[in-house]
Amino acid sequence: MSASDHLIPVVVSNVVEVNPIIKRFEFKHVNGDELPAFSGGAHIVVEMLDDGTKRKNPYSLMSSPFERDQYAISVRRDDTGRGGSKFMHEQVTPGMQMKISAPVNLFALDLRARKHLMIAGGIGITPFIAQMTQADKLGVPFELHYAARSASQAAYMDSLADRFGDHVSCYCDDQGESVDFETLLSSQPLGTHVYVCGPKGMIERVVETATSLGWPAAHVHFEHFLAPPVGEPFEVHLAKAGIDITVGAEQSLLEAVEASGTPINCMCRGGACGQCETVVVACDGEIMHNDHWLDEEQRAAKQRIMPCVSRFRGKRLELDL
């Protein structure tokens, strides 16, 4: 059973160009039904039928968790990526019918927190928009620190500052502004939880700073961008199915397995949830483990792979599928 088996038919109700690299897409249920309720930090998987290729990308929900008549996501165009964001930007127009998964939350607020401290980099802002709406309604103190390259690229910076006032601090690289993590993290009240979503370097700095300041690990939450990387094509043998498949350069191993009609579990499609963990029967080569699920020991053993994001280079890879 996989979340993708239960897709919700939606119609694109609106497409808004937020800035030259970011578009917002709004979805309504095709029948006008209410969409499932969700919690801040949740994402949906959007299915894209791109000229014969079926792509499924996860995007954070940024709409209010308390509004069920529509969902909104924001997509940053990545011309070096696998083509999902390019498809969304170039092909998706209002009125188009698409399919999405039910919401999944791998980046939920810890509801025990006395205060939520949110740190966003670039497009990493999206889950926090829904989370701030939730925290605001629950009456729990929160603070957002939002860094972007420039004011023109900082999606929603103005509207968030208008909406949440003093709760929001903005930083633009091109103005020489940056978040002082040391000061920020050393001046929080007890019971604060910190959440970070943004580029890898930012996440690492926040986690390192929090750790060095003695923050409990359970109070530090982060979400990596969930996008399967591109790479060289490679061949895989699926042992149970008894077939060989080719994974294209802009395709994930998971997508190639699905395209072959072979059953496989999955949910987040971003290396975080662990659902697609697959046993490696034979491996003569190198697995590029791009997930956040397997630990170092498991990676080195080459006996497990997360097909949603990981790739292979070498002579032979055989999976228990």
Partner: protein, 346 residues
């Protein structure tokens, strides 16, 4: 079909019994002639009309009497219903799930009218007619979990999800098979399962936790668990052990058919939308041995399962005192004939 709700007791004079028509819909827990732990989880799809798997939250002839028994337990021991402060949103999720499901599945018994956040709920069997504001606990007489927990059969635990684990942070537990919410509250998945023998070594809990952490919204799952109880007593809690523990001494070969009850838990697992917590309903079904053996397949199979049960499980499930005479009693119904696969009667 209109359900005739029974007036019966689960304590004192123990008038609880299953109507003949209710017996075949019992969730008999053994799909094979032998039993061992497994992560026997399957999707909680609607299955088999008339079975307890037909609807999201099964309502049967014992509904009203069970809710009366719950009220008695809560009046004596309010600690059976506890929610840590961060679990209020989850309580509302639980309330919504039950009201929406019951109003859809049993429209002749339950009615829900929503006007934005203003909700009107009618529960005919319990004669409840309330209007409240969804999400505003001051408009209900108690915590939303307690409010709805008093109107739905089975115990309900709500598990918060964080740090890659599940935490027993809320529940309304009055019909338990010898475990205590008051003891387990705040524990994580491995802590509250620590007393279970054998299953840890089999890796059952690691697999189950991994499954539950990624349980998707709108795709509930279920499993069956079982034990035996002397007398049809719902409240077999550790807190009340002095009241029910001695019952085990009253079992004799002559009264075994009426005294010993097969106690089955239909456990379901639901991802809650706003809290991201997991709702864990534990719905208990009780059936006297005399009622079980009216179904020849169940009688044969129960004899074989009991006869071959591992000693660790006999001990853990608290059956040691009467296990030998039960096996002897059941043997009269087992002619050695093969049994058909699956749990439903022939």
């Amino acid at each position: 079909m209109t359900i005739q709700f029974k007036d019966e007791t689960f304590r004192g004079d123990f008038t609880y019994a299953n109507s003949p028509s209710n017996i075949p819909r019992f969730p008999f827990p053994f799909p094979e002639d032998e039993y061992m732990y497994s992560t026997n989880i399957e999707p909680h799809h609607a299955a088999r009309a008339g079975s307890p798997f037909e609807n999201a939250f099964d309502v049967d002839e014992h509904y009203v009497a069970e809710m009366k028994d719950r009220a008695l337990v809560l009046a004596e021991d309010p600690g059976r219903c506890q929610a840590l402060p961060h679990m209020e949103t989850a309580g509302w999720d639980f309330l919504e799930l039950v009201m929406v499901s019951k109003a859809r599945d049993y429209p002749d018994l339950f009615k829900l009218t929503m006007d934005g956040d203003r909700w009107h709920w009618i529960n005919k069997p319990l004669q409840i007619d309330d209007t409240f504001t969804f999400g505003d606990s001051s408009t209900l007489p108690c915590h939303p979990m307690e409010y709805i927990g008093r109107q739905v059969q089975g115990d309900h635990a709500i598990l918060d999800q964080r740090d890659g684990n599940l935490w027993m942070d809320a529940g309304i537990i009055t019909a338990q098979a010898d475990w205590s919410l008051d003891f387990d509250i705040g524990m994580n998945f491995f802590e509250w399962h620590a007393p279970v023998p054998l299953a840890h070594e089999l890796g059952v809990f690691q697999r189950a936790l991994k499954f539950l952490l990624t349980l998707p919204q709108g795709q509930p799952s279920r499993r069956l668990n079982w034990t035996l109880t002397v007398n049809p007593r719902l409240d077999t809690s550790p807190e009340n052990y002095p009241k029910w523990g001695p019952d085990k001494l009253t079992v004799t070969p002559e009264n075994i058919g009426e005294k010993i009850h097969l106690r089955v838990e239909l456990q379901t697992f639901w991802r809650l939308p706003r809290s991201n917590a997991i709702l864990f309903p534990i719905r208990t079904y009780l059936m006297a041995m005399n009622e079980v053996v009216t179904q020849p397949k169940w009688a044969r199979r129960l004899h074989r399962v009991m006869r071959d049960l591992r000693p660790e499980l006999v001990d853990y499930k608290g059956l040691s005192r009467y296990h030998p005479i039960l096996v002897e009693w059941l043997s009269q119904f087992d002619d050695g004939a093969p049994t058909s696969p699956g749990i439903f009667p022939d």
